[in-house]
């Protein structure tokens, strides 16, 4: 199973939640699977999905925020693990799809292949650090602490097309949907 199937499985648990999605194929695949106004698609700034999600979670305490991140992107912004943990927004659920590869640039290996990212998060202090296969996503979204979930998949991209929405359209419809 590759990333696309993982995103399909994640979206089965998404109703009214905000979704922030990582740059590249993850956003393209999410857009292809289930476009919705409450999806924020990243077009640049690799590594910052969890930071955008943290800002949203802090600004919108009554909304549940789900971040769909990747292992390569997490490795680019490891400090975010510390900032998210220290602020512990209960409404933030951070899912890292770990395929051990920089998928959007040709599936080059990442160092996540030699890491257990759940152990990393537990080492930082996360109480809610899980493998996706061990949990009910909805239960975790509704828990009282920030959560970190690793979804292990194989590398590989689908044929999802490039998103045909511009950044201002993505922003405007997203902001209108969460007003």
């Amino acid at each position: 199973m590759a990333r696309r199937q993982a995103i399909e499985n994640i979206m089965k648990s998404i109703d009214d939640e905000i979704v922030v999605c990582n740059i590249g194929f993850p956003s393209r695949e999410l857009y292809d699977i289930k476009d919705r106004d409450k999806n924020f698609y990243m077009i640049g700034s690799m590594g910052l999905a969890s930071s955008i999600g943290l800002g949203l979670a802090l600004a919108k305490p009554d909304e549940d925020v789900v971040v769909i991140d990747g292992d390569g992107s997490l490795l680019m912004n490891m400090g975010s693990l510390v900032t998210v943990f220290a602020n512990n927004p209960r409404n933030l659920t951070w899912i890292v799809i770990d395929n051990g590869a920089y998928g959007s640039t040709g599936n080059q290996d990442t160092y996540a292949q030699v890491l257990d990212l759940v152990d990393v998060a537990k080492g930082v202090g996360f109480k809610n650090a899980f493998n996706f296969e061990d949990i009910s996503l909805k239960d975790v979204i509704e828990s009282d602490d920030a959560s970190f979930i690793v979804y292990n998949t194989e590398a590989g991209n689908s044929t999802a097309p490039i998103i045909d929405l511009g950044p201002i359209v993505i922003k405007t419809r997203f902001m209108n949907a969460i007003k």
Partner: protein
């Protein structure tokens, strides 16, 4: 109104209610004032680039964000400021302690300090260099609206002699 109070009052009157920071010794008093203000959410961050992402999310959620940092943090943030903040036209106020300027006693600050204004010019971002607290207050008070208008970050550089 001392140098820190001027910035604080400018931020308040600009409506800033969400601040991320990486500290500078010159920002110490200001950071304390922000921590004591109940209307401002203050999130210290591990690296400035991360803060740019958090500010983007906070703006999407209805906040008026600012980042407080040394000018060294500009270097750590350039791609995010372009491919996130400017790309989506997110307004952002950047208050920078501008090290490496006249009076600097740490040589390591000088190369980045000398290049900082030209980096902002190359990025095509508006910036102010207020010489005194009165000017800083006026510049900061206006900066949020200018940032909304520009669809880009607006910076306020505070040189060593400012403090």
């Amino acid at each position: 109104m001392d140098s820190s109070e001027a910035i604080f009052n400018g931020l308040k009157d600009a409506g800033i209610d969400f601040i991320v920071s990486v500290p500078c010794v010159n920002l110490s008093k200001l950071l304390n004032m922000i921590d004591e203000d109940d209307e401002i959410t203050h999130i210290p961050v591990t690296r400035e680039e991360e803060g740019i992402g958090i500010c983007a999310g906070a703006y999407l959620g209805g906040k008026k964000p600012a980042i407080l940092m040394q000018n060294s943090g500009l270097g750590n943030s350039i791609n995010a400021l372009k491919s996130l903040t400017q790309l989506y036209k997110f307004p952002l106020l950047m208050i920078m302690s501008h090290r490496g300027t006249e009076g600097e006693n740490i040589c390591g600050q000088v190369p980045m300090g000398e290049s900082t204004p030209r980096i902002l010019e190359a990025m095509d971002f508006r910036f102010f260099k207020p010489a005194n607290p009165e000017a800083a207050y006026e510049d900061i008070k206006l900066s949020w609206d200018l940032s909304v208008e520009d669809g880009k970050p607006v910076s306020v550089l505070l040189e060593i002699k400012y403090w």
